[in-house]
């Protein structure tokens, strides 16, 4: 099978997936208790004003009609506006996507820097203290709650030592130094969690490839152990890890809610949570739809990478 055909087949799945997600998120929001117009009113309960809000955002129409109005606009590129702050949802998404992407990229970089070397070490030195240490490191990353870790890092590096900012985000084109400084702690919090997952999978894949016949042959031909591990075993072990990495990256792009809350990063996760609590339906729908689309595309990217590096996926020669 050729690559373009492979991609085309996968893209065909994208449309029904997004349609299903749109119906699902729209329906689930209707299950949220409470009146969205009253949520917007907050402390101010002028019934006339509340009624006007309900009418403006079609909250007084039947649910299927509300869905039809919304999806019709989405197909024209209009995601509506935030009921709370009146900013167009597409503008919010465009502003927050780079933030979330940057955080996800930095977190993934840390995850790979931790996970892959730790996985290789754990596989190559099975049963030895260094392998145990690598396992402990990975499990710690998986088990320590992000919320707690984030607060502890803030207290240590921002409050006690003053080395890094406690929270906030500055765009890289405004001040690259402050941008990177602000991302160190949240990236580390997220990266340790993902790194643990990457480490476990790398270790498993390495153990399998190190036991393969071609590795035994390479050793028999007096190839150095370093070359055996890095050139022969690791390259093949990374194939499933690449696919996993794409999935994990997609999860990071969906927004790391707790981490963004603690570090006041204005990304997708924070926007989603605030949207749910404020019953800001258009925001929630927009975030979920875009996240779902990105997730599917990233999965596709992971599969394409696997397709490129693994000739066996291309079918018979």
């Amino acid at each position: 099978m050729t690559l373009p055909r492979y991609i085309a087949q996968r893209l065909v799945v994208l449309v029904p997936t997004l349609f299903f997600v749109s119906v699902l998120i729209f329906s689930l929001q209707q299950l949220l208790p409470g009146d969205a117009a009253l949520a917007l009113a907050g402390e101010e309960h002028d019934p006339v004003a509340v009624a006007a809000i309900r009418q403006k955002y079609h909250l007084d129409r039947p649910v299927p009609i509300q869905y039809g109005i919304w999806i019709g606009r989405v197909l024209r590129g209009d995601f509506g506006e935030s009921m709370r702050n009146k900013i167009p949802v597409s503008q919010l998404l465009a502003a927050k996507l780079p933030v979330t992407v940057e955080l996800a990229v930095c977190s993934m970089a840390i995850a790979l820097l931790i996970g892959i070397p730790a996985g290789v070490i754990a596989a190559v030195h099975q049963g030895r203290p260094i392998a145990v240490a690598a396992n402990v490191l990975a499990l710690s990353g998986l088990s320590v709650p992000h919320f707690w870790l984030g607060i502890m890092l803030i207290l240590l590096f921002a409050v006690q030592l003053g080395w890094l900012p406690a929270s906030g985000y500055v765009a890289p084109w405004e001040d690259l130094r402050r941008n990177l400084a602000a991302l160190v702690l949240p990236s580390f919090v997220l990266g340790t969690g993902v790194g643990g997952v990457m480490m476990r999978h790398t270790r498993g894949a390495m153990v399998e490839t190190l036991g393969a016949d071609y590795v035994r042959t390479a050793r028999a031909k007096s190839v150095t152990e370093r070359m055996v591990v890095l050139k022969h075993a690791l390259r093949n072990a990374l194939i499933p890890v690449v696919t996993l990495g794409a999935i994990e990256f997609g999860r990071l792009l969906s927004g790391a809610v707790l981490t963004e809350q603690i570090f006041a990063i204005p990304g997708f996760g924070k926007m989603l949570v605030d949207g749910v609590f404020n019953r800001d339906y258009a925001v929630v729908q927009g975030v979920v739809l875009v996240s779902a689309g990105l997730y599917v595309l990233l999965n596709l990217a992971g599969d394409v990478l696997a397709f490129l590096v693994n000739p066996r996926l291309r079918g018979p020669a």
Binding site: P33, G34, D35, L38, A39, L40, A41, G42, E43, E44, H45, D46, P47, V48, A49, A52, I53, Q55, K56, S82, R84, N85, K86, I87, L92, A95, K96, G150, I151, I154, L155, A158, V159, G162, P165, A166, S167, G168, Y169, D175, L176, R177, R178, L180, Q261, I262, F263, A264, P266, K270, M271, D274, F277, N278, R279
Partner: protein, 502 residues
């Protein structure tokens, strides 16, 4: 390889280099929530008022002891009978876009507040029938009915003036880029990120503004907000929880100031809103028993480190409208039990809805234990705030735990909650005598007579108890030691006049 070296060198230079070398004083303020639309006409969130104080001046303001003082207006005179008021405007004021502030701008703004669909200001100044221009710096408001609290309403969002030109150009998008006449000019907003303002060079009172740039940063987690203040990334945080005060006070680099709030914490009780009103609405003695079984002093000591003020009326004991004849009653479990027996409910049960917020949850647990000693079983039902308020509107409650942020005029603390058609009267309490008293108080200009009317109001409400007022919080603001000239106000709003950052 060569490009790699160039890129590395660039990154190193940027990292080593200083940030934008600037002598600007930047004040960063941590907010508890992200504000809603920055349009005074449709804004409803309390936190938005903190941001408006930077961008949008009002016709009048209040002092820390709630006296009304000039801001964009310099004075006012009521006509005899109170059906019109003449307001004199300050000369030489400009909006941030250079447009002049004048009588025409005031007329535009008031009409905007009254006619915009979804306006939350209409209920505050809806009595204004027309705005007439007397001259370029004088307007006359003609009222359908006398409304003494009107001037107090003009010290908040109803009195905020936006540029008519910008409002016409931006339409319903005005809230994304406000253009007003305050000390700071709006620069940008990153939703859930920050709101930035820069000093307005043509501000009418620019001699008293000493900060070049203000950044409002919403950080919803209180621990993270406090950490930011301690690390110096923020210079102020608003509405500090009492449980965080010890940390603040133990840090010599920080200060904390507190002032009694305008509002109160309360339990509205369902008296007549649907079938569930039969529980607590059956007999006022039941409600009096609940009130007597609660020990407000103990709750404030144990849950709030003795930082709050016990209350039972719609104004705090420090208010000139407080009725001293009815102080907070001491807890009396025996009397509570007796009242329940007399009402025919020796073992009474009801449900209190409480949002998942630490302070109210802890206080509810203590109240539950106290009521149990009087033979009252109170079930705590946790509901998200939006859901709870919706349930209140629909009458799907017996009691719920909420608060009111408070207004400078006592009318703003009681009318909408207790009059028969009050917009926030979830209890559906209706007492014709109370309605008449409160309506008369709205029309009465003489302060002494007004006080008498509010005294009568208190007496009626403490007899009927459609809601239990529990306490008045103190509004605590956490400050960096570098801040000077900060004056706390009971409304919790940060004023920038005189504020300095060393």
């Amino acid at each position: 390889m060569r490009w790699t070296r160039i890129l590395t060198a660039y990154v190193v230079l940027v990292l080593l280099g200083a940030g934008a070398a600037s002598a600007q004083t930047v004040l960063r303020i941590g907010l508890n929530d992200d504000p809603d639309a920055l349009d005074p006409t449709i804004s409803r969130a309390y936190v938005g008022r903190l941001v408006f104080a930077a961008f949008c001046d009002k016709l009048f303001d209040v002092t820390p002891d709630l006296k009304i003082v000039p801001q964009l207006a310099t004075g006012y005179e009521w006509a005899a009978g109170g059906r019109s008021v003449v307001i004199r405007l300050r000369a030489g004021v400009k909006f941030h876009d250079g447009e002049p502030f004048n009588a025409e701008a005031v007329r535009f703004n008031i009409e905007r507040h009254l006619s915009t669909p979804g306006s939350f200001r209409k209920s505050e100044i809806g009595e204004i029938g027309s705005v007439d221009i007397v001259n370029d710096l004088t307007v006359r408001f003609t009222l359908a009915e006398p409304l003494v609290p009107l001037i107090a309403a003009l010290t908040d969002r109803s009195g905020m003036m936006v540029s008519p030109k910008a409002a016409r150009e931006l339409g319903d998008k005005f809230g994304t880029r406000p253009v007003c006449a305050g000390p700071f000019k709006f620069v940008e907003r990153v939703a859930q990120g920050k709101i930035v303002g820069e000093r307005f060079a043509d501000y009418w009172d620019k001699a008293n503004i000493h900060v070049d740039r203000v950044e409002f940063v919403p950080i919803t987690d209180s621990t993270a907000r406090l950490a930011n203040l301690r690390s110096g990334d923020l210079q102020m945080i608003e509405r500090v929880s009492p449980t965080d005060l010890a940390q603040l006070r133990s840090d010599s680099r920080l200060k904390v100031v507190g002032v009694a709030e305008l509002g109160y914490q309360m339990l509205p009780l369902n008296l007549n809103n649907g079938p569930r009103g039969k529980v607590l609405g059956a007999d006022p003695r039941i409600r009096q028993a609940i009130d007597l079984a609660i020990d407000r002093d103990t709750i404030i000591k144990t849950v709030f480190n003795n930082e709050y003020i016990p209350g039972n009326q719609f104004v705090s004991p420090a208010s000139p409208f407080y009725n001293a004849k009815f102080p907070v009653k001491r807890r009396d479990v025996a009397r509570a039990r007796q009242l329940l027996r007399e009402a025919g409910h020796p073992n009474f049960a009801f449900t209190l809805i409480v949002p998942p917020e630490r302070d109210r949850q802890e206080a509810s647990l203590v109240i539950q234990a106290m009521l149990a000693e009087a033979g009252i079983t109170m079930t705590i039902q946790t509901q998200e705030n939006v859901t709870m308020l919706s349930a209140g509107r629909k009458g799907d409650f017996e009691a719920y735990f909420t608060f009111w942020s408070g207004r400078p005029d006592p009318d703003g603390n009681v009318f909408t909650f207790t009059t028969c058609n009050g917009g926030q009267n979830d209890s559906k309490y209706c007492n014709a005598e109370l309605d008449a008293t409160l309506t008369k108080a709205r029309h009465e200009a003489d302060p002494a007579e007004r006080k008498k009317l509010y005294d009568q109001t208190t007496e009626i409400l403490l007899r009927d108890l459609p809601r239990l007022v529990l306490w008045h919080r103190r509004v605590f603001t956490g400050l960096s030691g570098k801040i000077q000239g900060f004056t706390p106000y009971p409304d919790g709003i940060i004023r920038f006049k005189g504020l300095k950052l060393s």
